[in-house]
């Protein structure tokens, strides 16, 4: 049972296929996820990592479940802050659900640990990244604040 959990929901006027690609492919993530890319073969058990613009690893883990255009579950460990690395793996789930002309994207980030520092630290970042993803897919433009890696991080 998850002791720490945040849930984020956003409705994006797009298709599940396009949203799925936007969550994974570098030409999208660079624009709304602080100029980062993800390295992964996108199959169960495959290693996964988020690569910062300087080439170092921000977070890493592996694919737990993958059902294209519907659901992705990742094991996720942070590598930027020692106290968060020490917490071990969190679990990230993306769920995509078609609703009329939109897709409901639910992002759940959780950890089997009370008062997880990682889960609370990312709670400010996710709304920004998801708003920017929505903006990118609906208007073609991501939010300016998410196009580059934050200074001093």
């Amino acid at each position: 049972m998850a002791e720490s959990r945040f849930v984020y929901v956003t409705f994006i006027r797009t298709t599940p296929e396009k949203l799925w690609r936007a969550l994974m492919e570098p030409e999208f993530t660079r624009r709304y996820w602080h100029d980062t890319v993800q390295e992964c073969e996108w199959k169960p058990g495959a290693a996964w990592r988020i690569v910062k613009p300087d080439g170092s690893t921000a977070d890493s883990g592996e694919v737990v479940e993958i059902e294209p255009y519907k659901r992705l579950v990742l094991k996720w460990q942070n590598h930027m802050f020692p106290e968060m690395t020490a917490e071990g793996f969190s679990r990230l789930t993306y769920e995509l659900e078609e609703k009329g002309d939109s897709v409901k994207l639910t992002v759940t980030h959780e950890m089997d640990r009370k008062d997880s520092k990682l889960i609370s630290a990312v709670s400010g970042g996710w709304p920004q990244i998801l708003s920017s993803l929505k903006s990118l897919l609906e208007t073609g433009e991501s939010l300016e604040s998410t196009r580059t890696w934050p200074k001093g991080m």
Binding site: R5, F6, V7, Y8, V9, S131
Partner: protein
């Protein structure tokens, strides 16, 4: 854009009641509460809380997850963030430009 404005209407309507903002405050303090936990120490009937939660859920401000037989309520900050980006984000940029113009003018005067 009709869909977008309908979503925004739901968010503003949901936020327009102090009882509902109080529920969001409770979730902000501790995320993932059951209906029973949310009702404790509130001067609202269970029925009233249920009704307010439904409005918050419709606006996506609250998201529910079933854990076994328990329905847990989570505060979803994304719609509020989107509203902030839509208006305040732009305002911020304009204000920063105005400030740097002012600085430039004042410094020009000082030098001249």
């Amino acid at each position: 854009m009709a869909a977008m404005s309908a979503d925004v209407d739901l968010v503003f309507k949901a936020l327009a009641a102090p009882e509902r903002r109080l529920l969001l405050d409770r979730l902000r303090a501790r995320n993932g509460q059951t209906l029973g936990e949310l009702c404790a120490h509130l001067e609202m009937t269970r029925q009233a809380v249920t009704k307010h939660l439904r409005v918050l859920e419709k606006a996506s401000l609250v998201v529910c997850i079933w854990q076994g037989r328990e329905k847990l309520h989570y505060l979803n900050p994304v719609p509020i963030h989107e509203i902030g980006e839509k208006w305040i984000g732009k305002y911020e940029r304009g204000r920063l430009r105005a400030l740097s113009e002012l600085k430039k003018k004042l410094e020009e005067n000082e030098n001249g």
